[in-house]
């Protein structure tokens, strides 16, 4: 099968959408849709009951795990343990509020970063949130920050697709004359994976801003703001995706706070509040017409 388009990037994006739809179909086989309501038919006088909202599915990714400890604080607090505990806390809060939640790891194991994004894609999640704690050469560095994927990463992938198309067509810089390479080319799935997050960048940016705002509001922490970076775990996610750095384990004061159960409770409540806001804004995948999906 070949994909032909006058514009190479458009062709790639179309392919991503097809892949996303296909992965969603696969996930649908594993996760049956919500059962139809079985209540008695309403009487003609009564207003129709509101349709059951589709569950908003969140995939939480506790960073690192297994042999990969991540950052380690001065007293020995490990990022992988903090991230897993925070994911569990957040999952409990979200489930209590009607979210469907899946964790990329339930214990001390270490899936690859692409496997983590794949979990979110197969689950057809509405949101992907990767939880981390930071480290710096400066022991004074502190505060939380929220990342979404940088444009550089997706631009690089788009350029690669364009170059491949031109190479395949044996043409130079004229994209209108380019025929797409064969979709069986083993390089294509890898490049499309790299571009998967492209069409969700705007929503990812909005989610990042909401998360950061909630963290700032709920906690007395330094606002390090919303940032962009080429983080591998975000690259392949076909949904709004952010990476949250909860604080700096290398700052002794902040490590102490991150080790405290009460502080973790506040952190998880702030994150839950942010995800509720985002759900209200965009709705579950496919449930709200007129969203960017």
């Amino acid at each position: 099968m070949t994909i032909r388009s006058a514009h190479p990037v458009a062709a790639a994006l179309a392919a991503i959408l097809l892949l996303a739809a296909a992965s969603g179909a696969g996930a649908g086989a594993q996760t049956p849709p919500p059962a139809a309501p079985t209540a008695e038919p309403p009487s003609p006088a009564a207003p129709p009951p509101p349709a059951a909202p589709a569950a908003f599915k969140v995939v939480l990714d506790p960073g690192h795990g297994g042999t990969e400890d991540g950052a380690i604080g001065p007293t020995g607090l490990k990022e992988k343990d903090l991230a897993l505990d925070m994911a569990r806390r957040l999952a409990a809060l979200l489930r209590a509020d009607g979210f469907e939640v899946v964790l990329t790891r339930e214990g001390d194991d270490g899936p690859t970063l692409d496997q983590r994004a794949e979990v979110a894609n197969v689950q057809r999640a509405d949101v992907f949130v990767s939880l981390h704690a930071n480290a710096s050469r400066s022991s004074k560095a502190r505060g939380a920050e929220t990342y979404f994927l940088s444009r550089h990463a997706t631009d690089d992938a788009a350029r690669t697709v364009a170059a491949l198309e031109n190479d395949a067509a044996g043409v130079g810089d004229d994209p209108t004359a380019a025929a797409a390479p064969d979709a069986n080319d083993p390089a294509i799935p890898l490049i499309l994976w790299d571009m998967a997050q492209t069409i969700y960048l705007e929503q990812s940016a909005q989610l990042a801003e909401i998360v950061q705002r909630e963290l700032n509001g709920a906690l007395e922490i330094t606002d390090r703001g919303v940032r962009q970076a080429p983080f591998r775990v975000l690259v392949g996610a076909t949904m709004p995706a952010v990476l949250v750095e909860l604080g700096f384990l290398t700052n002794p004061e902040e490590e102490k706070r991150l080790a405290d159960g009460e502080y973790r409770r506040k952190l998880s409540e702030a994150l839950a509040a942010a995800l509720k806001q985002f759900r209200a804004r965009v709705g579950a995948r496919g449930a709200a017409a007129g969203t960017a999906r």
């Binding site: 950052a71 990022e79 981390h132 480290a135 050469r137 703001g225």
Partner: protein, 220 residues
């Protein structure tokens, strides 16, 4: 001390002196500024009482001034340009190795800039391919010391920017871990792509990315 022992001491001093000079010659001959010594003028060991051999002055080694990028002091992730010098090998690959080691080890800097990652990260190799991509191969076990996205981003950016800026042959910089392609160096930054070193810290995003909230619907 009789004449025989004095002769023995003189011989030993001569041998040691000769070895020192040869060692100095061998070291400095890695560069290009040692041809003046190839006439053997420095190779004649003196006997007992001869002046101690003098190492060639620094000016004879062809150093090259470079600018390397280290982590700037302070809370925010930023790189600081720090002057340094390397031996001016003709091969850009040799220069790339020296630059990468300087970044990993850090150099004394009055402003307080430090190596981007904690000490211990080890360079296995640095190569430049015919596309102008400098490949920095880092030792996997030594990367376990790197934790946190801040430290990893600083490491990638400092190496990429330092190599890109000082070597004309380098267009972009890629990374290997123990000789193999890897997802990341330490769990965050995508190492399946190459970098110029100027990708971040980038400009801050706009003040607000959120569209205006929808107006609340009036109650019926």
């Amino acid at each position: 001390m009789n004449r025989r022992s004095a002769a023995a001491v003189g011989l030993a001093a001569g041998v040691v002196g000769g070895l020192l000079i040869l060692a100095g010659f061998g070291l400095s001959s890695c560069g290009r500024g040692t041809r003046g010594r190839e006439d053997g003028a420095g190779a004649a060991p003196g006997g007992a009482g001869a002046p101690a051999p003098v190492a060639p002055p620094d000016t004879e080694v062809p150093y090259r001034e470079v600018t390397i990028y280290l982590r700037a002091p302070g809370e925010a992730l930023a790189l600081a340009a720090v002057p340094a010098r390397i031996v001016d090998f003709p091969s850009p690959v040799e220069r790339a190795r020296q630059i990468a080691r300087l970044v990993l080890d850090g150099v004394p800097d009055a402003t307080g800039a430090v190596a981007p990652a904690r000490p211990g990260v080890r360079l296995r190799e640095a190569l430049i391919d015919d596309r102008g991509i400098a490949w920095v191969d880092l030792d996997g076990p030594s990367l376990r010391a790197v934790g946190g996205s801040d430290e990893e981003m600083a490491l990638v950016a400092a190496l990429a920017r330092s190599l890109n800026e000082n070597l004309e042959a380098v267009v972009r910089v890629g990374f290997l871990v123990s000789g193999e392609p890897a997802e990341t160096l330490a769990g965050h930054v995508d190492a399946t792509r190459t970098y110029t070193g100027y990708e971040w810290p980038g400009p801050p995003p706009p003040a607000s990315l959120l569209p205006p909230a929808p107006a609340p619907q009036a109650a019926p």
